[in-house]
Amino acid sequence: MTTPVPLLPGTELLALSGVGKTYGTVRALEDVSLTLRTGEISCVLGDNGAGKSTLIKIIAGLHRHDEGTFTVGGEEVTFDSPRQALDRGIATVYQDLAVVPLMPVWRNFFLGSEQGHKRWGGLRIDADGMRATTRSALADMGIDLPDVDRPIGTLSGGQRQCVAIARAVHFGAKVLVLDEPTAALGVKQSGVVLKYVTAARDAGLGVVLITHNPHHAYLVGDHFTLLKRGRTAGSHPRAEIGLEQLTTEMAGGSDLAELSHELGRPSTTPDPASDHSAEERPQP
Amino acid sequence: GCSSTGGKRAEEARAKASAAGGSAVTTPRWKVAMVTHAGAGDAFWDTVRKGAEQAAAKDNITFLYSNDAQTQNQVQLVQAAIDQKVDGLLVTLAKGDAMADVLGKAKAAGIPVITINSGQEFSARFGALTHIGQDESTAGQAAGGELAARGRKNVLCVIHEQGNVGQEQRCSGAQGRAGGAFQVLYVDGVNMPDARAAISAKLQADPAIDTVLTLSGPMAATGLQAIQDARRPVELDTFDLGTQVVSGLKAGTVGFAVDQQPYLQGYEGVDLLWLYRSNLDMLGGGKPVATGPQILTKENADALAEYVARGTR
């Protein structure tokens, strides 16, 4: 594994400044700024409904921002469709609209980036090649699916999520955007995803990672943006913030530790510090 | 067995035949198919069919009926009849040229063809033995003449099947002779409330209209309703008959009806085919046989009522 690089002084990939977005009468984002450089993992954290997915959808070209500026590679853009974002090398994993349920797994995997057959000059798709690629990409994530012709809707929630992530990683060009990729995943699959994320960073990509799990975030993030009610509540490079502080900021002061105290379960540490922040404590 | 009036006699013949345990003739059991361009559930065509069925019963003929309003489907139905190796074919020629090919095939298969109802001008050209029916333009002209004679100044012709050639011919034929102002209105013939509202609307929009000319029995009934709704003394005239047309004639709400004796078209069609097969006879030497137009007015109403109620006029 590569040596840690706290903040790689790469070129700027994309920058949002003062971005706002209103759905009908609901103000989902207001004056949010974020910069992403090559070789950097930027984490966005926040409560439910804080506007994280909205932010991602703007970057991915799914929604247009109403206010502020959005630049990609220094050039100001307003995406009309996800295609434009993809063409600029931004690959996204969405929280809720990842896949087409009735389509086979392999067709979903390659959707929008189908692989042409050499002999047919790319007109005919290379179904077998695509099946094999899909199978191996999933196997790498610990999902063994001999029959990639199954409709993806028959996979379990976590399996579906894995396909979406494997797809984004496989086709990710410059920027990888992930909306709560590990939420539905078990410990093992979460680990795989985080490894992918760091591998992408090490390969020089920029990654925007949304997660509710401050541990996951702190494990890989180089920069942390906290959203609250659609506004930036904090923006820290890794060097400036610890896991404990991050957890506290995220949870608005409360924490599971407190809860376990309340619940009075025997296993809980009476230590008022977060049980999760253990890893932050100086080694004994 | 050549009759030109009504089904009464045919019915008696059939009754006699069934009493005797067979038909009235001794020819072998032939198969005759009739393929029309009728839509489903059309009262006019029901009468045609009745005539044909009664003649078939009398002539020991298996009668096959099929119909479709679309050209390509009617052609396919004729082809299916040829496939079944029928002994005679009755076809309507509302779609004119479109039937040329398939009738050629019938001829090649040695099936005698008689055309009925419409398409007189094509009949001989397509090799039919004869044509039995009414020329729609002639019928229209007859109606137009009668309208002029009755002094109608402003006529509304109601077409209930948009794009139907026969209906267009009736209206334009009437227009040619009627003299006064003449307008056309398209309504949906399978949606009576809507047709009624459409005719009322037209009468409300144009107070000059003094006559409504409908093209079928059921539409005449709807036209009468619409005239009632409009609360204006408008005369209704119509093509074809129906119980309400006859009672209208009697009551004076219907001015006149142009009839083409649909029963006769079916009955004669089958009967002439039987005659041709059994005796090589052909009525009129192959010249078209006209079954109309016949103008019926109040005077005829009483005499007609019984037959109309029975569904054979």
Binding site: G24, D47 | A40, G41, A43, V190, P193, D229
Partner: protein
């Protein structure tokens, strides 16, 4: 831990206006107004009082069926048999009364039983076979079309029914289904009252009862509805029964105002009912829509189809104008809805 913590700011807007803007029928309302204004401008007879009666009558004969069809569509299903079912209702009623020489009310009641049975069949087939309703009701549509003709011929010997106007009970039935009142030149037909009645009941049921909640749910996401215990199949079946009821009403009107019924009628009307519902704001995929909207849709259709006649536009192009009208109304509808959603900025 229980402090409100999520941003949901409602912009300042009068509550009534906001309510209206969110309603499915707003677009249809404005489209209806637009169609009215167009014809008021170009067709002088359109504004006369008797014309209003004619337009209302035309709208009501669509609207009576559009109410249950809209409810069914909100519930996520189609009924292609709705058009011919009206004819079935009229034929049954007429033939039963005639053949039994009974009071016409007997036929009327038997007819109700038959239409409800067809609705039940549709709902049952849908639930049992899980075929799409498009296919099931297309099957029923064809079968009813055939049966209308076949049975009528079998029973009456012709393709239309015998007149029943001289039978006992006809007058009272006619009063109920096909009477009219004229007030100051405006003639209101019985169908208009029936329409308003169905509208009120349908709208109330949809918005104010538990069953209405289920209708939205089974149309919006049948799987989710089923998961929380909504009886999906039963809900849909009741909706089909309601369509049967509407067909019965309109069928009796047809019979008692025209006296005889042609067995081939009604084909194609099902599409008009669906159009009225969709223009009225119903989502074709279900889960969204309104009953009042369907009435506006019926009104738009009635005004457009009769307005063209009042305006005396070239009759050859009638359908063309109707199609253009429909597209424009639908366009205006969505445009208004999108504007309303975006709010007053």
């Amino acid at each position: 831990m229980s402090s409100p913590d999520v941003l949901v700011q409602d912009r300042e807007r009068p509550a009534a206006l906001r309510r209206l803007a969110g309603r499915p029928e707003l677009g249809a309302l404005i489209a209806a107004a637009a169609v009215f204004l167009v014809f008021a401008a170009v067709a002088e007879p359109f504004l006369r009082v008797p014309s209003l009666g004619t337009v209302l009558y035309a709208a009501s004969t669509i609207g009576i069926m559009a109410v249950p069809v809209a409810l069914l569509m909100i519930g996520g299903e189609f009924d292609l048999s709705a058009g011919v079912l009206v004819t079935t209702a009229a034929l049954t009623s007429s033939m039963v009364s005639y053949q039994l020489t009974a009071v016409t009310w007997v036929g009327v009641l038997v007819s109700l039983a038959v239409t409800l049975a067809v609705g039940l069949f549709n709902g049952w087939m849908l639930a049992r076979t899980r075929l799409p309703s498009f296919i099931v009701t297309l099957g029923t549509f064809l079968m009813l079309t055939g049966a209308n003709l076949g049975v009528t011929k079998l029973v009456s010997g012709t393709v239309s029914t015998k007149p029943i106007s001289d039978m006992e009970g006809f007058a009272s039935c006619r009063w109920l289904f096909a009477s009219e009142v004229t007030v100051g030149g405006l003639t209101i037909k019985a169908t208009v009252w029936w329409w308003i009645g169905l509208l009120l009941v349908g709208s109330w049921v949809l918005l104010r009862t538990r069953f209405g909640n289920w209708v939205f749910a089974v149309g919006g996401d049948a799987a989710a509805a089923r998961a929380v215990g909504v009886p999906v199949a039963r809900t849909k079946t009741v909706l089909y029964l309601f369509v049967g009821f509407g067909a019965w009403v309109l069928g009796q009107h047809l019979l008692f105002s025209f006296d005889t019924v042609q067995s081939g009628e009604g084909v194609g009307n099902e599409l008009i009912y669906i159009v009225a519902a969709v223009i009225g704001g119903c989502l074709i995929t279900g889960g969204y829509g309104s009953v009042v909207g369907s009435a506006l849709g019926a009104l738009i259709f009635g005004m457009a189809s009769k307005g063209i006649i009042y305006a005396q536009w070239n009759p050859d192009w009638f359908k063309f104008f109707l199609g253009a009208m429909l597209l424009l109304a639908a366009l205006l509808n969505t445009w208004v809805k999108r504007r309303a959603e975006r709010g007053p900025r």
